[in-house]
């Protein structure tokens, strides 16, 4: 039995009010389990659903009650089946009672582990908390929750409650939500549990830490304030970048019949003389050469050991300075957290006093740090206060590394003030910019902040794990595109764009961009530069398609000459027609992508007739040539004529556009 295995119980609300976010819940949980399959193979996971039609749990059988709670999977070691389970969670039909689910979960954990596995037991509740909690048989709800919380704490179970919040609520529901939140707060007061509120599907994906990391201190010891005073502190990493998984090199040399082949590749190093490449030098005959300008100085490791810089392990305070002296941009690395030694109340007091004083007088501390004995360098950094708002969490500091002289390149840049008038914005332009900065707001008051780093998943890793799962089913599966929820991280939210459309349009109107006419054609690459530049080696078919679309978008939005619009549309039409004419299935997909881009462009440029006429003629062609596949694709993508509602100049009514795709189906079949 592995020592570090974790037992996790997922309590998922699948009641009707949760249906809209269940896809994200499924994604979040399968991500969590997938990472466990790779990094925590011994971890155990169980799933409890509540708000279901059915009832299936031990407590019902033993004592009755606890309806609509289903144990989907008992606690056991993670495997592929559990990922399957998250492909499609059953949609529930009744309002879920999360207290019931917690009791069922608690019962399962206690029965399975008794007193063992302390501190590694975790329950994770995902709910929207809009359904009323049943009254207990005796006592109040608060008393019931308190009793449960005490049990949870006694068994060393950690709890995470993720509450999905919605902005629009009727008053009646508001009261229930308030009551439920009160109950949840009671949990966090009485046991080590925390509550996380998420406002949108994207942050739900990041609400749960899918990576399980046991925090390790990088330093334990004294923070020295002069020679007279020391404070016992522990230092942890607060942020650390989760790297793309290290994939192993694959060898296909083993015969396909060999079932036990590891397919691994070993990397070995050989050292050869530069002058005489046939001469191999054994590793122990090497010596390190250190560069000094053009010279290379050979120094043996023993020699180097004797002369190298060897600072003593210590944390020393250099002094305090105004926080305005330390600009945010100087932070060099990932961030550390300084906490007082756990259990040492006086150290906590000292840290708390310093942190609060720093906050009050706007000062920060400058430290010199050597984390480990034998470390070859020192670090200069800044401590900033991190005051805790919770009564059970002590105050602490954040620590950021600052640069040395050698790390800074001080370049001189021209002042904006010295620029010619033609480069300066005028009053109207400035106002347009002000409005854009105000309106394109990611943290509107009254609504939650979106794209908070704490709740934003890494889209690349999401994509990787998704693809990994697909590939385990089908080795040739294509890389999946980002879904709508993840797209909100890489592209501007369409809702936000729609809300601030007028501001963006005004911004467009006030500013003009054009390419520099003085530049020679050959050097003029930037504006029409391909999306990923030349550093992409695999110039495959897809790439050039993306480029074609990019080129089209760039050309059609050029403002220096109205003729560009016409030219862009004509070029695109030609390309689409070529693809369709080729009668190859793959090309139809591309053609549809191009059509989508063309349609968008024509709407933006108020040229609906160009598109509609083209689509009609294309359809005619398809009918003559019996290319049904293309039409099916268009139906699936909802690519129809541009109706009046989308472009005023259109000659097609909404009705016509709606039926256009399906109109001729009966004739064909």
């Amino acid at each position: 039995m592995a020592r570090n295995r974790e037992a996790l119980l997922l309590l998922l609300d699948v009641g009707p009010s949760m249906h809209s976010v269940l896809p994200q819940v499924e994604n979040l949980c399968s991500m969590l389990v997938q990472k466990k399959l790779i990094y925590g193979k011994n971890d155990e996971v169980g799933i409890i659903l509540f708000g279901t039609e059915d009832t299936s749990n031990d407590l019902t059988n033993e004592v009755g009650g606890y309806e609509h709670v289903v144990v989907l999977r008992n606690i056991k070691v993670v495997d592929g089946d559990i990922v399957e389970a998250f492909k499609q969670l059953p949609r529930g039909t009744v309002a879920g009672d999360f207290v019931d689910a917690i009791v069922v979960g608690l019962d399962m954990l206690i029965k399975k582990y008794r007193e063992t596995n302390k501190g590694k037991k975790r329950m994770c509740l995902i709910t929207d908390a809009v359904c009323p909690i049943k009254d207990p048989y005796e006592g109040t709800k608060e008393e019931q929750v308190s009793t449960i919380a005490v049990q949870i704490a006694a068994h060393g179970i950690r709890m995470e409650n993720i509450v999905v919040r919605r902005s629009s609520c009727e008053n009646a529901k508001k009261r229930i939500i308030d009551e439920n939140e009160n109950l949840l707060n009671l949990f966090s007061e009485k046991s080590s549990s925390k509550i996380v509120y998420v406002d949108n599907p994207t942050s739900l994906l990041g609400a749960l830490k899918t990576r399980n990391i046991a925090p390790v201190t990088i330093f334990r010891g004294d923070l020295e304030l002069g020679q007279k005073m020391k404070i016992k502190v522990w230092v942890y990493k607060k942020t650390a970048e989760e790297k793309f998984p290290m994939l192993k090199k694959y060898s296909d040399k083993a015969p396909p019949t060999d079932k036990f082949a590891t397919h691994e590749v070993k990397v070995d190093y050989e050292y050869r003389s530069v002058e005489d490449p046939s001469k191999v030098v054994p590793p122990e005959q090497r010596i390190k050469g250190y560069r000094y300008g053009p010279q290379v100085v050979p120094i043996s490791s023993a020699e180097w050991e004797a002369v190298k810089f060897k600072p003593e392990k210590s944390l020393k305070l250099l002094g305090f300075t105004d926080s305005s002296n330390i600009l945010r941009r100087y932070y060099m690395k990932d961030v550390n957290l300084f906490i007082a030694e756990p259990g040492n109340t006086r150290a906590m007091l000292a840290v708390s006093a310093l942190a609060r004083a720093m906050k009050e007088v706007n000062k920060v501390a400058i430290l010199r740090c050597v984390w480990r004995q034998g470390q070859q360098s020192v670090v200069i950094g800044v401590l900033t206060p991190n005051l805790s708002e919770k009564h059970n969490i002590p105050d602490s500091f954040y620590f950021n590394v600052l640069p040395f002289i050698e790390d800074v390149r001080e370049f001189h840049f021209p002042s904006f003030r010295n620029y010619p008038m033609s480069w300066q914005p005028n009053e109207q332009q400035q106002e347009a910019a002000d409005n854009l900065v105000k309106m394109l707001d990611l943290a509107p008051s009254g609504k939650g902040e979106s794209l908070q780093p704490e709740f934003t998943p890494n889209p690349v890793l999401e994509c990787f794990y998704h693809h990994l799962e697909l590939k385990s089913k089908d080795a040739d599966a294509a890389v999946p595109p980002l879904d709508e929820t993840l797209k909100k991280i890489t592209e501007c939210d369409t809702e936000l764009l729609a809300d601030s459309k007028s501001v963006i349009n005004a911004f467009h109107r006030h500013f003009e961009l054009k390419e520099n006419p003085k530049l020679k054609k050959s050097t003029r690459r930037f504006l029409w530069e391909k999306p990923f530049g030349s550093d992409r080696e695999d110039a495959d078919g897809d790439a050039s398609d993306a480029e074609s679309i990019q080129d089209f978008v760039a050309m059609i939005s050029r403002r220096d000459n109205p003729e560009w619009v016409g030219k862009a549309i004509e070029d695109m039409k030609k390309k689409i027609f070529e693809l369709v004419k080729s009668h190859e299935g793959d090309n139809y997909l591309k053609a549809v992508d191009f059509l989508a881009a063309l349609r968008k462009g024509c709407i933006l440029e108020q040229e609906p007739k160009q598109f509609n006429d083209f689509l009609r003629s294309l359809f005619k062609f398809c009918q003559e040539e019996n290319i049904d596949q293309l039409r099916e694709l268009l139906v699936s993508k909802q690519l129809s004529l541009i109706p009046k509602s989308e472009a005023v100049d259109s000659d097609a009514t909404d009705n016509e556009a709606g039926h256009f795709l399906t109109r001729r189906v009966p004739k064909d079949v």
Binding site: L225, S251, L468
Partner: protein, 621 residues
């Protein structure tokens, strides 16, 4: 750059991907420092009292010496030449009067800086009068034109290498804005004309000439015979500033700005502006080491061999990677992997704005990147940038954007920075800093890790007051972020310099990062600390014993401590020096040997012989 399989030099602390965001060495740079050595440069008569008696010549020379040293650390592939004009002696290929090209043995005139070059140039102040000498070259009556000669020599030096692969520059240091002042009439116009023509010729060859004027208080430095054209006004240091600042400004201008990448910033669909990104802050690490043959000291080439673990066959670097998942090997091609990382088109996409208070201190992963607009290809970019920059500053907001860099796509914050000018020098350039934001799984909830249901202690108002009083005492008023040199790096290069010159004496490096012990020991400071200590710790507080707290200190560490203490006690029972001298160490048991090792904090691993040799090494035998 060679691959180093066991890169022991690197600290664990260092990010393995450091090299990725180091500045890319795309082009080489050839620089000629052209230093006026006329007597006027040596005059120290300064009017302001706060200025040290430092001559302009000295300022220039020390600036160059400093930049040579940082060049060794950062850009040792660049080549430099130092050339004085208005000198008594002459030394140059063209054999022109009044021009002296300075170099040392085993080094070309224009070459990479070597250890000897740096060391000797450091002492140029002492040797200059004897070996080179200062003398006005342009005097009425003679037809010598030393500026002309100097430019010619510099141009000759820069004939090396093609203008395409190298950046060629001449930096001209002088405090004379009217070099032909002593000459009258037609001779003067003639000299001006020929000098300008020479400068123009050089520029036509792709050499840029930059003028670094040194002005005296109260005097305005006029455009030197129209050498530099329009840009000068932008950089002209204002009159009357302190010498220190002048040095600073000069240092900043001696580096060329290198653009890391050109980025297109998409503000809305169809509206993309052009930005240049610069790496203003990047960790500088000691240079790469190479492997040499210890017998011949000749360089070695490292070759990677790929061996199939199943068959033992040698193979090419495999194009495919795999991840084991659900007891299966899932294979990815490199095309698939790069497609996964390609989550976004376009370089930098605006997502929206947030108030600055949303950017927390722990939202950081790596050094920031500086963004500055350019109208080079997309006219109008600068105007949009300035407008947004102003709005963001005024409304106290930062932009959130997605940077779709194919190697490492990231969510970033763009923080506008206003220009800060102090004493006529630019302290902070105007522009935006791109800060890489962490994702949800990059942030750890350490605060909650030790939380319990107990109420934790909070400082009282009085304790906070005492802490604030102490802060006032230990106050670094003029702290600037990069005032310290990295002692590890300084030591590294000082040692290398000494070893390269085969000196026996190892240089001593002053570690500037140590706290100011003297200042900390001032009575007022000590008193403030004592008061704070008393207020939070109380009367009788023993930091060591308190650390045991409520017995939470782990059993393992207690045990370790007990073993160490025991070892010290036991170890005292042996006469180690005697045992070692008589070769009796081998008669002891491993257990006994370990007493010595743990008492002296040495590693306990290895066979008996290893332990004995470790003890002997430690004793210095």
């Amino acid at each position: 750059m060679e691959l180093d399989p066991d890169d022991v030099f690197r600290d664990d602390e260092d990010d393995p991907e450091n090299e990725l965001f180091q500045e890319r060495e795309s082009t080489k740079e050839y620089v000629v420092y052209l230093v006026d050595a006329s007597p006027k440069m040596f005059s120290t008569s300064s009017s302001a009292e706060d200025q040290k008696n430092e001559s302009h010549f000295h300022i220039v020379v020390s600036c160059i010496a400093q930049s040579l040293k940082s060049q060794i650390i950062n850009r040792s592939y660049d080549e430099v030449a130092i050339c004085f004009f208005n000198t008594r002696e002459k030394k140059n290929k063209q054999d022109l009067n009044g021009v002296f090209v300075y170099t040392v043995a085993e080094r070309d005139s224009l070459d990479r800086p070597t250890a000897r070059f740096i060391k000797e140039f450091d002492r140029i102040d002492e040797s200059f009068a004897n070996d080179i000498g200062s003398q006005y070259g342009i005097v009425s009556g003679s037809h010598e034109n030393t500026i002309y000669n100097a430019l010619w020599v510099a141009q000759g030096l820069l004939r090396k290498g093609s203008a395409k692969t190298a950046d060629k520059r001449i930096l001209l240091f002088t405090n004379e804005d009217d070099p032909f002042g002593s000459i009258k009439g037609a001779a003067k116009t003639d000299m001006t004309r020929t000098t300008l023509q020479r400068a123009k010729d050089a520029q036509d060859l792709g050499i840029s000439i930059e003028l670094l004027p040194l002005n005296r208080p109260g005097e305005e430095f006029r455009d030197l015979i129209g050498l530099e054209g329009g840009d000068l006004a932008l950089f002209m240091p204002s009159a009357g500033q302190k010498l220190e600042d002048m040095k600073d400004q000069m240092r900043k201008r001696m580096f060329t700005k290198r653009i890391v990448k050109r980025i297109s910033f998409m503000i809305a669909s169809g509206l993309s502006i052009e930005l240049n990104s610069y790496a203003l802050i990047r960790p500088t690490v000691p240079g790469v080491t190479t492997w040499l043959d210890s017998v011949t000291n000749r360089p070695l080439k490292t070759e990677r061999l790929f061996i199939c673990a199943d068959t033992g066959a040698l193979m090419q670097e495999p194009p495919k990677r795999f991840q084991s998942y659900k007891n299966e090997n899932i294979i990815f091609s490199s095309a698939e992997l790069s497609e996964i990382k390609r989550v976004s088109t376009g370089d930098l996409r605006l997502l929206g704005f947030k108030p600055l208070s949303c950017l927390k201190d722990y939202h950081n992963l790596r050094p920031s990147t500086f963004l500055f607009p350019s109208d080079k290809e997309v006219v109008g970019s600068t105007r949009i940038f300035i407008a947004l920059h102003r709005s963001m500053l005024r409304l106290q907001r930062y932009a959130v954007a997605f940077y779709g860099n194919p190697s490492n796509p990231h969510l970033v914050a763009l923080v506008a920075q206003d220009e800060i000018i102090i004493n006529g020098g630019q302290l902070e350039p105007p522009g935006m800093h791109m800060i890489y934001l962490p994702y949800s799984d990059d942030i750890r909830n350490i605060e909650e890790f030790h939380s319990s249901t107990d109420v934790v202690p909070r400082a009282t108002d009085d304790q906070v007051k005492k802490a604030a009083a102490m802060m006032k005492r230990i106050y670094l008023k003029d702290f600037s972020v990069c005032q310290f040199a990295n002692p590890a790096l300084q030591r590294h290069y000082a040692v290398l310099q000494a070893l390269a010159l085969e000196e026996d004496e190892m240089p001593d490096i002053n570690d500037e990062t140590l706290p100011d012990e003297e200042g900390m020991a001032r009575p007022a400071v000590v008193k403030a600390i004592e008061e704070f200590k008393l207020s939070v710790y109380g009367e009788d507080y023993d930091e060591e014993s308190e650390s045991a707290g409520n017995g939470k200190v782990s059993e393992a560490s207690k045990k370790r401590k007990a073993i160490a203490e025991n070892a010290v006690k036991e170890s005292a029972n042996y006469n180690w020096a005697d045992l070692a001298d008589n070769g009796k160490l081998k008669d002891l048991t491993v257990q006994e040997l370990k007493y010595y090792l743990s008492a002296h904090g040495l590693p306990l691993t290895g066979k008996k012989e290893t332990l004995i040799s470790r003890i002997l090494t430690h004793m210095g035998k």
